[in-house]
Symmetry: C2
Subunit: 307 residues, 2 copies
C-alpha cells in the first residue's frame, strides 16, 4: 500500500567531528521518503524553491518516490545550518531560513488521495490537521512534532493529536508534552490525548512503542527495539525521520496491522536510522539494497534475542 | 557454584518522591548478595559496626547467604544519607559516614576460598586487587567501580582492571574511564585495559555487554538487554548492585560460560534491578520467589522479542 508523506524538503549545512558539508539535500520529508521507499510506494508533499533542481528531484525519483506533490515556489528552499558536538542528540543551530516553507500550505494531489497511509512530519500542527482533513480515507496516520510546537502551539497540537494514530517523538518531547518526568507515565498521558500508539525514540538506546488499551486489538504491553551501538556516527541529522520512514514504510507494506507487524516495524525503524547516520545527509539512504536492510535487521535481532 | 561477594554492608537514609526511610539496611554487598541468592550460594565479606544486629544479619541468613565473612568491628557501620529528585540516576548525597568501613581490610575466610566466582563491589581498587590475590582459584571475577576511583585512583584502578574478567559500570563511568564520549568506542578502550567482558548499564534503557575478541570463545558481538518501563520507581538505591547480583548469580549457577548463558545473565540482571526499585531499600529482594523472577524474565523477553 502507498503512503503520503508531508513535510520539508530542504537544504542543510552540517558540521560534525567527521567534517562538514555546505548545502546538501535534507528535510524531514526527504529522509522519511527515502527510508520508506525500500518498503512501499511513497508520495511526497512539500514545497521547494528555485534552488531545488531536477538533479535534486532525481534523488527521490530514482527511489521510485512520486514527486508530483512537490510544489515549486519562487524564492529559495528551506535552509538549515547547524553543528553537532559530543552530544549527538542536540544540534547547535547556526541559521534557520524558512524561505518558501514559511507560506507552505500543503495540498494533497487528487491522485494521492487513495493512499491508505499518511505521515505528517514535523510541521505546524494546524497544517498537519488540515492535511489529515484532505486525506479522509487514510487508514493509519503517523505523525511527528517537536518542542517548538509543544511549547508554542499546545492547544492546536492537542487538537491535531486526536487525528493521529501513531505519534513518533523522543524522550524529551514525550516528557514535555505530558508534563511528566517518568517515561511510562508520560506515555500513558500522551496516549490519553488521542494517539492509539506512541513510539518514543531513545536515541542510541533504541525506541519503545506504547499502546493504548485494546488498540489494534493487540494488547497494551509496550515493545522495545534496540539501536545499534555505532562507533562512527558521521551525521545524526535525519535519524528520527529515517526511523519514522522505516517504521511507517514497513507498516504500509503489510496487509494487516497486528502486534507482530508493529514489532517488526520498530526494528525496521531502528535499522533505517542506523543507516542514515553513517554518512552526511541522506546519502546512505539513496544507495541501499533490501538485502543490506534485512542483513542489518538480522544484526538487530542478534543484538537482543535469546536463543 | 558459589560466589564470594566483597563490598559494603551499610545503613542508608533515603528520601524519594514516594517517601523517606531513616536507617535501613543497605550497601553494595547487601543488594548484590540478596539478588544473587536466588540463583546460587552466596558468601559475603564485609565489615559492620555495633549497630548491625543479629536481626540485620538474619535478613541475609534467611536467604541462605553465608555471613561468616562479615567482620564485626567497634563503632558504627557505614552510613549514607541522600535523596533522589526527578533524575533517578543521580542521588544528592547529604551525608557519608565511612565509620568502620574506613579501615576495611577484607579477609577471605579459608572456607570461602574454593568459590569459583568472585564479585568485587565498588570499593577501593587497591582492596579489590588484594581480595583477588586471596582468591587465586577464582574462575571468573566480576567487578564494579565508580567515578570517585576513576578520577582519584586511576593508576591503581588500571592495575585492578587487569584482574577483573567482567566489569559492570554505567554509561558515565565507561566514558570517564575511557576518556571517550562514543559508547562503543569507550567500551573497546575499557576492554583493552583488561576485562574480557564489559557490561554497561544504561539505567531505564537497559544494559549492553561488550566482549573482547574471542573472549570465552563466543565472538565479540555485543548483546543488549532491556530494562522494564516502570511507572513507580520507589527507590533506585541498589539497582546497579542488584543487576550485578542477578547477572553474576546466574553465571555462577551455570556449568558453562557460553554466549547464551551471558545473554540470559544480562536479562536476569535487568530483572533483579527491576525488582529492587519497587520498594525502599532491599526489601523487595528479601521476599521474592524464583517463580516471580522467571515470570518477570518472561516479561523482559516479550518486551523485546519478535516471534
Amino acid at each position: 500500500m502507498s503512503i503520503v508523506a508531508v513535510g520539508s524538503v530542504a537544504f542543510d549545512a552540517i558540521k560534525t567531528q567527521y567534517g562538514k558539508v555546505d548545502k546538501i539535500l535534507g528535510g524531514s520529508a526527504t529522509y522519511f521518503s527515502l527510508a520508506a521507499s525500500y518498503f512501499t510506494q511513497v508520495r511526497v508533499v512539500a514545497v521547494v524553491g528555485e534552488d531545488f533542481t531536477a538533479e535534486h528531484e532525481d534523488v527521490l525519483k530514482r527511489r521510485g518516490i512520486c514527486t508530483q506533490g512537490i510544489e515549486h515556489a519562487k524564492g529559495q528552499s528551506f535552509f538549515w545550518s547547524g553543528e553537532y558536538g559530543e552530544n549527538l542528540n542536540e544540534a547547535k543551530t547556526h541559521r534557520t531560513d524558512l524561505n518558501v516553507f514559511e507560506k507552505f500550505q500543503p495540498r494533497i494531489p487528487q491522485e494521492y488521495r487513495d493512499s491508505e497511509f499518511l505521515f505528517l512530519a514535523n510541521i505546524d500542527p494546524v497544517l498537519q490537521a488540515n492535511v489529515r482533513g484532505q486525506m479522509a480515507n487514510a487508514r493509519l496516520v503517523g505523525g511527528d512534532t517537536m518542542n517548538f510546537w509543544i511549547n508554542g502551539k499546545r492547544t492546536e497540537l492537542r487538537e491535531t493529536l486526536k487525528l493521529i494514530d501513531v505519534l513518533l517523538i523522543n524522550d524529551g518531547e514525550a516528557k514535555a508534552l505530558a508534563g511528566e518526568s517518568n517515561l511510562p507515565r508520560a506515555a500513558n498521558k500522551v496516549l490519553a490525548m488521542g494517539p492509539k500508539a506512541l513510539v518514543i525514540k531513545h536515541g542510541e538506546y533504541g525506541a519503545t512503542v506504547f499502546f493504548r488499551d485494546k488498540t489494534f486489538g493487540i494488547g497494551h504491553h509496550p515493545f522495545r527495539a534496540p539501536a545499534l551501538p555505532i562507533e562512527e556516527v558521521v551525521d545524526p541529522t535525519g535519524a528520527g525521520d529515517s526511523f519514522a520512514g522505516g517504521f511507517m514504510g514497513y507498516l504500509a507494506s503489510q496487509g494487516e496491522l497486528n502486534r507482530e507487524v508493529f514489532k517488526r516495524a520498530m526494528f525496521y525503524g531502528g535499522v533505517m536510522g542506523s543507516f542514515a547516520v553513517e554518512r552526511f545527509g541522506p546519502e546512505r539512504l539513496t544507495q541501499l539494497t533490501r538485502e543490506e536492510i534485512d542483513a542489518r535487521f538480522q544484526l538487530f535481532r542478534e543484538l537482543t534475542h535469546l536463543d
